[in-house]
C-alpha cells in the first residue's frame, strides 16, 4: 500500500504548482494580448465594434469561469474542435481574462481628465497622435497597478482548471487527499502554496497603486 510522507505531499504539490504558474503565465499573456487588441479595436470608436465588444465583455464576465471551462472542454469537442485539458484551460482563461483586462484598460483611458483631450485638440493633434503620445502613455502608467492586481485573480482562476482534469495545484491536492485522507493538512498546504504565489503580487499591486497616487 502506498504511504505518503509529509514530504511526499509537499513535493507533489510543489511539482503541481509549476503547472499553476505556467498556466497563469499563459493566461496572463494570452488575456493581455487579446485584451489589448479589444482595447485598440474599441478605440476606433466604431459603433458596431463597440457593441460587439461590450457584448463580449458582458458574456465573459457574466458566466462563471467554471461553466466556461466545461463549455470549452466538452462543448468544443462536440462541434468537432479537438481540445485537450491544456488547450481548454488556456482558451477559457484567456477569454475570461481578456474581458477583464479590456475593462481595466478602457477604464484607465476614460479616467484621464477630459482636459488632456481638449488640450491636444486645441494644439491640432490628430486622434491617433493624441492616443499615441498623450493618452496611452498616461493610461499605461495608471493601469499597471490594477493589471498586477488582476493577475492574482488569474492565478486563482487556474484552480478551476482542476474540474476538467487538469492536474495543477488544486487537483493534485484533491488527488493526494484521496490517497492520504488528511484533508485538513492537504488543503492547508494547498492554501499556503497559493498564498505564497498570490500575496507578493497583491503587495506589489498595492505598492504600485500608492506610488501612482503620490505621483499624481
Amino acid at each position: 500500500m502506498v504511504q505518503f510522507t509529509d514530504w511526499d505531499i509537499l513535493k507533489n504539490l510543489l511539482l503541481a504548482a509549476r503547472w499553476t504558474i505556467l498556466l497563469s503565465l499563459l493566461a496572463f499573456v494570452g488575456g493581455g494580448v487579446f485584451g489589448l487588441l479589444l482595447t485598440l479595436l474599441r478605440s476606433m470608436r466604431n459603433k458596431l465594434i463597440t457593441y460587439l465588444i461590450q457584448g463580449y465583455v458582458e458574456i465573459f464576465q457574466g458566466i462563471p469561469l467554471l461553466m466556461q471551462l466545461f463549455l470549452t472542454f466538452f462543448g468544443l469537442s462536440l462541434i468537432g474542435i479537438e481540445v485537450d485539458a491544456w488547450t481548454a484551460a488556456v482558451i477559457s482563461l484567456t477569454l475570461f481574462s481578456s474581458a477583464f483586462f479590456h475593462d481595466i484598460w478602457r477604464g484607465c483611458i476614460e479616467a484621464l481628465p477630459k482636459g488632456q483631450w481638449e488640450a491636444c485638440k486645441t494644439l491640432g493633434l490628430s486622434y491617433l497622435q493624441t492616443m499615441r503620445h498623450v493618452i496611452v502613455p498616461q493610461a499605461m502608467r495608471m493601469s499597471i497597478a490594477p493589471t498586477v492586481g488582476f493577475s492574482v485573480q488569474i492565478v486563482k482562476g487556474t484552480a478551476l482548471a482542476s474540474v476538467i482534469g487538469f492536474v495543477e495545484l488544486t487537483k493534485a491536492g484533491s488527488m493526494i487527499n484521496n490517497a492520504v485522507f488528511q484533508p485538513f493538512k492537504v488543503f492547508v498546504f494547498v492554501a499556503i502554496l497559493y498564498f505564497i504565489i498570490c500575496f507578493p503580487l497583491s503587495v506589489l499591486a498595492r505598492h504600485l497603486e500608492k506610488k501612482n497616487h503620490v505621483a499624481r
Binding site: L65, L78, I79, P183, F184, V190
Partner: protein, 222 residues
C-alpha cells in the same frame, strides 16, 4: 465530426434546472447580505484604534483574497470536520461565500471610508458624536455610495463563484447542469442552458442593484 444539438430531451429536466436556479439565488441572497455585513464590520475593524483588531482583520482579508475560492471551500467542507466543526454542504457553501465576499467587501468599503474627507470625522466629533456614531451615521452611508459600483461587481462575482459549490454536492445551478448531463449525456446542451441562466442572472442582479440605488441614495451627488 458533426453534432446535432438536442434540447428537447432536456425538457423533462426543467424542474431540476429551476430547483438549481432557486438554490443559486438563495445562496446569492444570503451571502450578499452576510458578506456585506461581515465586510462592513471588518472595515470598521480595520480603522479601529485597537492594533490587534486591525491586524486580525487584515490577516483575514489577505488570506482570503490570496487563495482560490475552491480551496477555501474544500478546506471548510472537508478540512474543518477534522477539527470537529461539521457543516452540511449547504452551510459550508454559504459560509465560504460569505467569508469570501466579506474579505473583498472589506477592502472595497474601506476604500470608500478612506475617501471620506477628514472634515467629516471632525464635524461629527465637534458635534459630540461618539466615534461609532460618526462611523455608522456619517462616514458609512456616503462611503457605500462612493464604492457602490465596485460592490455590485463583487456581489456578481460571488454569485458566479457559487458555481464552484457544486463540487461539494450543493445542488445549485451548475450541479443541476452536471447532474442532468450525467443522466442524459447531453453535456453541451445542459451547460449552454446553465451558462445562459447565469448570464441572465448577472444582468438581473445589476438591474436590481440599480433599482436599490435609486431607492436608497436619494441625494443626487456626493
Amino acid at each position: 465530426m458533426s453534432y446535432q444539438l438536442d434540447f428537447t430531451n432536456l425538457i423533462p429536466y426543467l424542474p431540476q434546472f429551476a430547483a438549481g436556479l432557486w438554490t443559486t439565488v438563495e445562496l446569492t441572497l444570503i451571502s450578499t447580505f452576510g458578506g456585506l455585513l461581515l465586510g462592513t464590520l471588518c472595515a470598521q475593524g480595520r480603522i479601529s484604534q485597537e492594533a490587534w483588531l486591525r491586524t486580525c482583520c487584515s490577516c483575514y482579508v489577505e488570506v482570503i483574497r490570496n487563495t482560490p475560492f475552491i480551496v477555501q471551500l474544500f478546506f471548510i467542507f472537508f478540512g474543518l470536520p477534522a477539527l470537529g466543526f461539521k457543516l452540511s454542504a449547504w452551510q459550508a457553501g454559504t459560509i465560504a461565500m460569505i467569508i469570501n465576499l466579506g474579505a473583498y467587501s472589506t477592502e472595497i468599503i474601506r476604500a470608500g471610508i478612506d475617501a471620506a474627507p477628514k472634515g467629516q470625522w471632525e464635524a461629527g466629533q465637534t458635534l459630540g458624536l461618539t466615534r461609532r456614531q460618526v462611523f455608522w451615521h456619517i462616514i458609512l452611508p456616503p462611503a457605500y455610495q462612493r464604492v457602490y459600483p465596485a460592490i455590485v461587481s463583487q456581489c456578481i462575482i460571488v454569485m458566479l463563484g457559487s458555481a464552484v459549490v457544486s463540487q461539494i454536492s450543493v445542488e445549485e445551478l451548475t450541479f443541476s447542469a452536471n447532474f442532468i448531463q450525467s443522466r442524459t449525456f447531453l453535456s453541451f446542451e445542459s451547460y449552454m442552458i446553465a451558462a445562459l441562466v447565469y448570464l441572465l442572472l448577472a444582468i438581473l442582479m445589476r438591474q436590481t442593484f440599480a433599482l436599490i440605488k435609486r431607492i436608497t441614495f436619494k441625494n443626487p451627488s456626493l
